[in-house]
């Protein structure tokens, strides 16, 4: 079942396809509440042998990986495939996450075989509440290892649990581990070795399971089980309280928040610049190198001017994107992201959004692609969708060169506010503001119409502060850059080849045509009547850079800036929106809306400037 619905955008195999390898696949699902360390454990067990995709048809992320089993100990040459399920508190199918979890566990999720065994991971510093999930999981009667994570925290804070007694009560093996530190992980491997060899026998739970629909009773059940296993809850996390008294201080809190945001901003723009410049010149020199080696032909021009420089243009953004994800990773793993969301919530609520939308939107100033991928932290699907739809309005760094080019050519640098802040800087700032205003206006529009919130309240769990581990940060960076390069790279490659073909065909007497008589030129001429009112001619219409200086009127120049601020011109963004929303519907709506807005605003701008109101 490795066939995807469309293969261009879904290169990741949805499920392992073991049959052709002649191996028996043993499927193990990892399930646990949010913040229980599920992903950390998954990373521990699989390392780099994992793939990220979406479950078919939904926005829920699916991670599948092969467990790093000890070959000598796993008989039958069997392969253990791990599926990381979304974090849930129960299996009542109210959200997409819970529905996906249920479907996978029932074996009704297309592309994923029914799991042979389960790893139930719970935070043992909050065992009473987390054990509630054990009731529906144990009722599935699959071989289950109950993993009590954060063992180091429990010990340090003076908590205790008798794992042997807990295993007795639940009728399932129990492992006390620290996924972040790697302590006790060997017990998880042993369990998987046992279940894949079929030597694990199922014992019925000694305790009676509660009625799953009755949450108070389930909670009482969990409490009784904990008491039976001599569970002593740990002392409150002192450091978390101390840090919160600083980070959530009425005055210091917002100041630190602003400093963090400014620091992230500064680093992704200034810090990444030398790296980006270095990459840029590397791509250029190597392109010239290729040019020297190959004999001149039209394919050399496709390879060097088209593919090499086009793919290079994507790779150039990699340092910025890596830095951005490094920051998001540190913020998320340390626990500060939840505090930032708390601080930002009140402001974001005014636009119909919520605190968790803030960091993705800020990220979109660097690039909309990682920003849209970062919206995964928003559990509320409508808020997440609204954030995805407005993210491309934020002025991403790819727009910057176009802005500076046009501004430098058409706007005189007269002082505006003293010596340091001139007209040109003002125009640039204006464009940033314009994008931001369009984003929040659109958010309001969406949230009061098609994305009017379900009555789901804003709920934000505050995890304790933790040191981010190098391991999880680097795995995240590798994973995200792979996704970025694959998405952006493949789409852009395709677009470049198509554009090149349009510009170089039809061939006349073995020579590429003049641009005006190429297919691209014909398209340009065909759309010219539609873009003429905006002040653009056909050359601008097909994006000829050299035409920007020579063919634009002042009205057309300002209109073009406005057009660039609003229009969706980034193929990678369209591709990533399709991926994240699970279909073409939302990227199509987004593209139509942004293009319409760009057209209307550019039209108004051109007409206003031409009429000379401002002169």
């Amino acid at each position: 079942m490795s066939e995807c619905h469309d293969c261009g955008a879904c290169a990741v195999a949805v499920a392992p396809s073991p049959l052709h390898k002649g191996l028996r696949t043993h499927v193990v699902a990892i399930i646990g509440p949010p913040n229980s360390g599920k992903s950390t454990l998954f990373n521990r067990l699989t390392g780099l042998r994992q793939k990220v995709a979406n479950f078919p048809g939904v926005t829920v992320e699916q991670r599948v990986g092969k467990a790093k089993m000890d070959k000598a100990k796993t008989p039958h040459h069997s392969e253990v495939v791990l599926v990381d399920l979304p974090g849930v508190y129960s299996l009542n199918p109210r959200s997409e996450d819970e529905q996906v979890t249920r479907d996978v566990l029932a074996g009704t999720m297309p592309g994923i075989p029914k799991p042979d065994a389960l790893l139930l991971i719970l935070d043992c510093t909050n065992l009473g509440r987390h054990l509630v999930l054990a009731a529906p999981i144990l009722s599935l009667k699959l071989p289950t290892l109950v993993i009590l994570n954060m063992a180091d925290d429990l010990k340090n804070r003076g908590g205790h649990v008798d794992t042997a007694e807990l295993a007795n009560e639940l009728g399932s093996p129990v492992a006390l581990i620290s996924a972040a530190k790697g302590q006790g992980v060997e017990k998880v491997f042993q369990f998987m070795e046992g279940t894949s060899a079929g030597t694990t026998s199922l014992a019925p739970p000694r305790v009676e399971l509660p009625i799953l629909q009755d949450i108070p009773r389930c909670r009482q059940w969990a409490h009784d089980i904990g008491t039976g296993a001599a569970y002593r809850a740990p002392a409150p996390p002192i450091w978390t309280r101390r840090l919160d008294s600083v980070f959530l201080h009425p005055i210091a809190g917002p100041l630190i928040f602003l400093m963090v945001v400014a620091g992230v901003f500064q680093t992704i723009f200034k810090g990444a610049k030398p790296l980006m410049d270095g990459l840029q010149s590397l791509i250029q020199t190597s392109g010239q190198g290729i040019e020297h080696i190959l004999p001149p032909s039209i394919f050399r021009s496709l390879l060097v001017d088209g593919i090499w420089s086009g793919v290079g243009a994507v790779i150039v953004f990699l340092p910025q994107i890596l830095l951005l994800f490094l920051f998001i990773g540190i913020l998320e793993d340390s626990g500060y992201l939840a505090r930032a969301a708390l601080i930002a919530d009140r402001t974001m609520a005014k636009f119909g959004l919520q605190g968790k939308s803030f960091i993705p939107l800020i990220s979109a100033y660097a690039c909309a692609v990682p920003a849209i991928m970062a919206t995964r932290t928003i559990e509320n699907k409508r808020d997440r969708l609204a954030t995805i739809l407005i993210a491309p309005f934020m002025t991403c760094s790819a727009r910057l060169p176009v802005y500076t080019l046009i501004i430098a050519a058409f706007i005189a640098d007269r002082p505006l506010l003293g010596h340091f802040f001139g007209m040109q800087a003002g125009a640039l700032l204006g464009l940033y503001v314009l994008g931001f205003v369009a984003a929040i206006a659109t958010a309001r529009l969406l949230k009061s119409s098609i994305l009017k919130s379900e009555r789901v309240p804003f709920v934000l769990e505050m995890p304790p502060y933790r040191w981010p581990t190098l391991r999880s940060l680097s795995l995240r960076l590798i994973d995200r850059s792979k996704v970025f390069l694959r998405r952006a790279g493949t789409v852009i490659l395709l677009v470049i080849v198509v554009l090149w073909v349009l510009e170089n065909l039809p061939v006349k007497n073995g020579q590429p045509p003049e641009i005006g008589s190429s297919f691209a030129g014909m398209i340009g001429h065909a759309v010219e009547p539609a873009i003429k009112p905006l002040g653009f001619n056909w050359k601008i219409g097909i994006g000829l850079r050299e035409a920007l200086r020579s063919d634009l009127t002042p009205g057309g120049a300002v209109a073009l800036l406005v057009f660039f601020a609003f229009a969706m011109q980034c193929m990678s963004t369209i591709a990533v929106v399709r991926r994240e929303t699970g279909g073409w519907k939302w990227p199509a709506i987004q593209f139509a809306y942004m293009t319409f807005l760009a057209y209307v605003c550019a039209l108004i701008t051109n007409q206003v400037v031409r009429s000379g109101i401002f002169t």
Partner: protein, 97 residues
Amino acid sequence: MLQMSVNSGPGAAPHGAFARTLAQLPEGEAGVLDHLDLPDDIARRLMELGFLPGHIIVPARSAPGGEPRVYRVDGSEVALRRETASRLILRPSKGAV
């Protein structure tokens, strides 16, 4: 099921008259949840996070401007907006443990 009876001695008013909501509870003061005045599915969502009738809830720090506020409940910290906290009705403080 959610309506746990309020019988905290003589003169106990039917809830609504004296009952405070979680939003009215001052920072650092413990309150006992009586019931959730919310549609069933939302109430269940909050109950899964520990907001169960009979549980003790302590308001902790808030974001600047007073909301959302962090609440300590059932071993963890969960932030709610005021609109949600004002639908969580507390037992009259006499009945609090």
